[in-house]
């Protein structure tokens, strides 16, 4: 069977109309929902319920403000030790345990390992992630050294 006859026999027109209608329905409704989504989210997040999802461009501002004020000044020797700690930290994973780093420092003969590690933590160069692990904050380090 060919031509219009085949189309008719297999219900071709109906299938085509149903098909295109469904596709349009789906995407039109989805576009309507999306277009309202950010308004709904703005409304919800006004009471600051979902602080977890901060918009990306707010973060840098947050970070910049904090550490600047509380940076202790470093002496030359302390800077040198900080550099040694940076080297050691690089040998660890991104999230590391403080005792592990300290242990490395002791083994490597870093000067006054405890005191200097404490200094780095206070200066925000080594920051806790709240779950027992610590991270190296390269930005803070750069501010201190240079």
């Amino acid at each position: 069977m060919y031509g219009l006859e085949a189309i008719q026999a297999h219900n071709g027109w109906a299938v085509a109309v149903v098909g295109i209608t469904i596709v349009f329905t789906g995407l039109v409704v989805l576009s309507l929902i999306i277009s309202q989504l950010h308004k709904v989210l703005d409304f919800i997040s006004n009471p600051n319920k979902f602080e977890v999802f901060r918009p990306a461009n707010v973060e840098p501002a947050d970070k910049k403000d904090e550490p600047v004020e509380e940076v202790p000044s470093f002496t030359g020797a302390q800077m040198e030790t900080a550099r040694q700690y940076r080297m050691l930290a690089r040998t660890l994973e991104d999230e590391f345990l403080l005792p592990k780093l300290l242990n490395l420092a002791v083994i490597s003969g870093v000067d006054k390992p405890h005191a200097n590690l404490g200094l780095l933590v206070r200066a925000g160069v080594i920051t806790p992630d709240g779950q027992g692990f610590f991270q190296w904050n390269q930005d803070a380090f750069d501010r201190i050294i240079s």
């Binding site: 069977m1 060919y2 031509g3 219009l4 085949a6 189309i7 297999h10 219900n11 071709g12 027109w13 299938v15 085509a16 109309v17 149903v18 098909g19 295109i20 469904i22 596709v23 349009f24 329905t25 789906g26 995407l27 039109v28 409704v29 989805l30 576009s31 309507l32 929902i33 999306i34 277009s35 989504l37 950010h38 989210l41 997040s45 979902f50 999802f53 901060r54 918009p55 990306a56 461009n57």
Partner: protein, 375 residues
């Protein structure tokens, strides 16, 4: 010993060869050439092209070499095609790569991705008219969706016999989008329309991006449950990407998983095109219908964009309609290219990504609809 030599010789490709294998090997080489030298969708044309070579080595039956022999290695790898497993895995990776920001910023552009799917259904009718059975006509129509994995998935479900020609047609025309679309785009739009600039999209929040795949999945799959394997994986991959905390899973999805699936799908789809079963009249008709479906889909997208402009206050550039056919990201690049021919400082690509990715969703829905109506 002479007998052994003779026996061996009678099993070589030189003895068993047939002109149709040679034709297919030449076509395979052309695919490889287009992929490597012309950069047309190399990630698919090269595997499919080499697969054509693999599938058209003239082999003797019985040893378990051919893709259609049940204990051959190729047959095991082809299983992922015939059962429709690779396409959802590829969609998982695509989801983990796709950024839906522009779509979220201006959802109205999603309608262009819907409009271009009309090409699927018009081609479906055409295929019926050319004498194909309804299930085959559906599989042929989906070529117009311009989405390889979707086409292979639907064909595997509805007309497995046609996987070879439909996959080859779909990927050929996707590769040829830069050749097919521009004339139609120039024909259907005026210079003024092509010069329209789009305004910068608004910033999209992280929350929106996370919620989108969930909402899109639930809505579309409630509407067309048969789109679940494809849309489920697409949205899942996108959620893994946008969630950030699951980044390592998204990395696996958009590297190891999608690349492995692409290699195996491309190779085996190519290998399924054995000359003696591939070079038939129906393959030729499928190729003709495939070309029409791309042209129609492009036209539908463009014309719908012009229609929308009648109602919209801020006009959109109707070229964006051509990106609705999917063929991500090639058709979006074509839009950019054609737009820049009129005004080199007009950057349409980012905006074209919106109809482009919604075209993927649209054709997955269309596949679901056709599957549920035909199965």
């Amino acid at each position: 010993m002479d007998a052994l030599f003779l026996e061996f010789f009678q099993n070589t490709g030189f003895y068993l060869c047939d002109y149709r294998y040679i034709i297919m090997i030449i076509i395979g080489c052309i695919f490889i050439y287009l992929g490597i030298a012309k950069h047309y969708e190399p990630l698919l044309l090269v595997p499919i092209g080499f697969g054509m070579l693999v599938g058209n080595i003239p082999i003797f039956k019985g040893l378990g070499l051919g893709i259609y022999e049940s204990n051959s290695v190729l047959h095991y790898l082809y299983f992922g095609v015939t059962q429709g497993i690779y396409p959802p895995l590829i969609f998982l990776g695509i989801g983990a790569m796709t950024d839906f920001s522009t779509l979220l910023a201006r959802p109205v552009l999603m309608l262009l991705g819907a409009a271009a799917q009309a090409g699927i259904f018009i081609t479906f009718i055409g295929a019926l008219a050319l004498g194909f059975a309804p299930n085959e006509a559906s599989a042929i129509g989906i070529i117009g969706g311009a989405d390889g994995p979707t086409a292979i998935f639907l064909t595997a479900k509805l007309a497995p016999r046609l996987i070879g020609p439909i996959a080859v047609a779909a990927y050929s025309y996707m590769a040829l989008v830069p050749v097919i679309q521009p004339p139609i785009m120039k024909l259907l739009t005026s210079r003024e329309e092509r010069l329209i600039r789009m305004e910068e999209p608004r910033e999209v929040s992280k929350k929106e991006k996370v919620i989108f795949p969930i909402v899109a999945f639930l809505l579309c799959c409630f509407l067309a449950p048969a789109a679940l394997p494809l849309l489920g994986m697409l949205c899942f991959g996108n959620l893994l990407k946008e969630a950030v905390v699951t980044e390592r899973l998204a990395v696996a999805a958009r590297n190891a998983i999608i690349d492995t699936a692409t290699i195996l799908l491309g190779l085996t789809v190519g290998a399924s095109t054995q000359g003696d079963v591939f070079l038939t009249g129906s393959s030729v008709r499928i190729f003709v219908l495939g070309a029409c479906s791309f042209a129609i889909a492009t036209a539908c997208g463009l014309l719908f964009a012009k229609l929308m402009n009648l109602f919209l206050k801020t006009k959109i550039n109707p070229l964006l309609g051509a990106a609705g056919v999917s063929a991500v990201p090639d058709s979006a690049r074509v839009v950019q290219h054609v737009g820049q021919q009129e005004d080199p400082t007009n950057f349409l690509l980012m905006h074209a990504m919106a109809p482009n990715v919604s075209g993927v969703i649209g054709s997955a829905i269309a596949a679901g609809v056709l599957w549920s109506l035909m199965a």
